[in-house]
């Protein structure tokens, strides 16, 4: 009882915004209950013409690239060795972990037979892109969970797991990038089978590659937006200098994407492109506003150095990516005589999933040391039996161990 009361008291102390998020999540939970009680047909606007609706288009096809920040940044920091971006890694991992967990939630709601979801592990079909994505999402959520354990272990002062995790870090980072490459691109492979269904503005054989490259661009932009938001609303230090470095990489990846997009359209796609005015509009919105405009913005030094304009450019890329995923997975396959739009329940669930993401991020940031991570001052190497790195400062290390359990990590030392 006291525990319940303590929790209730804790919740009472939250900011109104957090309470509102909790409300949205509860609403979504009720809505998803309705889905199981009344069936998919009654609660959603999906039908035999539109077997995939908002839940697949947003909760899966769009949410996965939106959670691409973790693997992109992990690779940039640890493999390309741009070590100064390290402070951004942890929030990105938390976002990624939350994002993927919620993808799983969305998928389970959308499945007709969620209790049989594990069948994917039992009956393999290597020819199915869905099999691939399912396997990768499971594997990657596990990887992200392990990476996410670091702040948890720090908070509770579990030293041995911490050392193991620290030692696993590099393999995990590489595994994360490899697995992400597979499923980010396989999401594009999904739509290769929709040969005569998807409009030629979006259908082309390189869809998987396009999905992968745009996911990388989007991953970096999400980090820019997230760090800026954390600075603005969660009282975190301004990481502007680091974001500037990130913004310097973006023109290259965005440029590559735009080149690839135009090339595939001109050389690999066939057939009437501009026959449907709405599609033409959507296409130009997506490519022009969502990719080319931010590309031009990021090439300019003044935009990269300006906190506000930088985040605007990043938001444009995110807009472009979201629109692209919707165009491919929904709009581009629509029949003008019989349109699909999400039902109230579908929308409530998706809104709840977004709210849940924000909510859990805020809560995790509140209780776990995800922002105060400065590995230069913390040494987790497995003692002595391996390469001796830290001979010089044994005393300091002991101090840190004492500081750790309080959850403040080693932030003061830096």
């Amino acid at each position: 009882m006291t525990a319940v009361r303590a929790v209730a008291k804790e919740i009472k102390g939250y900011h109104a915004f957090v309470k509102f998020m909790i409300f949205l999540v509860v609403l979504a939970a009720v809505a998803s209950l309705a889905r199981f009680v009344f069936g998919l047909g009654a609660t959603t606007n999906m039908d035999d013409t539109y077997p995939w609706g908002l839940w697949i288009s947003f909760d899966v096809v769009t949410a996965v690239p939106l959670a691409a920040g973790a693997f992109t940044l992990g690779a940039i920091v640890h493999c390309f060795n741009i070590k100064k971006l390290e402070p951004l890694v942890r929030p990105a991992i938390v976002t990624g972990f939350l994002g993927y967990s919620l993808v799983c939630v969305g998928l389970v709601l959308d499945l007709g037979q969620p209790h049989k979801g594990w069948h994917v592990l039992r009956y393999w079909n290597l020819h199915s892109p869905m099999f691939e994505v399912a396997m990768c999402v499971m594997a990657y959520t596990t990887v992200l969970f392990l990476e996410f354990l670091s702040p948890v272990a720090e908070k509770f002062g579990w030293h041995i797991p911490l050392r193991i995790l620290r030692w696993l870090e590099m393999p995990l980072v590489i595994l994360a990038a490899a697995i992400s490459t597979l499923h980010q691109s396989s999401l594009g492979t999904f739509f290769l089978i929709a040969v005569d269904k998807l409009h030629s503005l979006w259908y082309n054989p390189l869809l998987p590659l396009l999905f992968w490259v745009s996911a990388i661009c989007c991953g970096m932009c999400i980090i820019i937006v997230e760090a800026t938001a954390c600075h603005k609303w969660m009282g975190q230090p301004n990481e502007g200098v680091l974001l500037r470095t990130l913004a310097k990489i973006l023109p290259y990846t965005l440029g590559f994407y735009i080149f690839l997009r135009v090339y595939t359209l001109m050389a690999l796609s066939e057939g009437p492109f501009f026959d449907v005015p709405v599609f033409t509009l959507l296409f130009f919105l997506e490519l022009g506003i969502g990719f080319i405009l931010p590309f031009l913005m990021f090439t300019s030094n003044s935009v990269r150095n300006d906190d506000r304009r930088r985040v605007i450019a990043a938001l444009l890329v995110i807009f472009g990516l979201v629109l692209n995923r919707f165009n491919v997975s929904m709009f581009g396959m629509m029949d003008p005589n019989h349109m699909y739009y999400p039902s109230i329940i579908e929308s409530l669930v998706t809104i709840g999933i977004i709210a849940g993401h924000i909510l859990f991020f805020v809560l995790i940031a509140k209780y776990f040391p995800i922002f105060e991570h400065h590995p230069e001052t913390v040494d987790y190497t497995i003692p002595d039996s391996f390469h001796k790195i830290d001979d010089g400062k044994p005393k300091q290390e002991k101090e840190q161990k004492e500081v750790l359990p309080e959850g403040s990590a080693a932030s003061e030392l830096s």
């Binding site: 199981f36 009654a42 089978i193 005569d196």
Partner: protein, 279 residues
Amino acid sequence: MSKVDTSKQNAFLIDMTKCTGCRGCQVACKQWNQLEAENTEFFSGEGYQNPPAMSEYTFTRIKFRDYEKNGQNEFAFYKEMCMHCDDPACASVCPVGAFEKTPEGPVIYKADRCIGCRFCMIACPFGVPKYEWSKGLPLVKKCTGCHDRVTAGLQPACATACPTAITYGPRDEMIKIAEERVAKHPDKYIRKIYGKEEAGGTSVIYLTSLPFDELGFKKVTLRPLPEYTWQALRFVPAAFLTVGGSLSALSWINHRRDRLKNEQEDAEQVDTPADEKED
């Protein structure tokens, strides 16, 4: 999964010019598969057909199209059903392999495997698999090709019931009959055998007198659909190894450089023991 010789597998030859629109097949299919009746209204769809579309309760359906011939109103028909593709898209995309092209010809669905992701519905070029939208835990429904009857030595229920239009037998023979008919009556038939090459070949082939698209036949690619996704999926192991390998190599090089630098600094520290280095 392709490259199996399908010429000896069973196929339907459906000659729409011989169809009278009696819908005996529709009724026989409902009876054999014990499908519930649908509550429909006449003229709720495009024309005379009823129900307005195939559904979880209706695996096959006769589509009506009225047109004028020599000043007379005439009907043309189209029997919609699963095409039992030689290389089925539905089977290739299903994550749990719930669809299977049987050696007898029919493409069957194993409900106990299906997780209900509906990818098969997106993939099928003919829009055949339907979903039990009314249920809390829905499954997919489609024409079974009467696999149970075929393995028992019978013909499919619809083929048995049909008085005129449906012939059932080995695919190569069906194609031969179709070709003979077209050759014999060039005035009566459109010079095309639908299903011979569509989607890489199907086990349901059609002859008509009206252009196929006017009857509601879908214009589909002639390549087997699984090839479209496989041409990307086959790179998966290579992509995994390339990304994993190059990132490993890259980090190894970078980390080694760092370590060497540290060691060098350490060595310098030993040379100048005066103060501790704090970078």
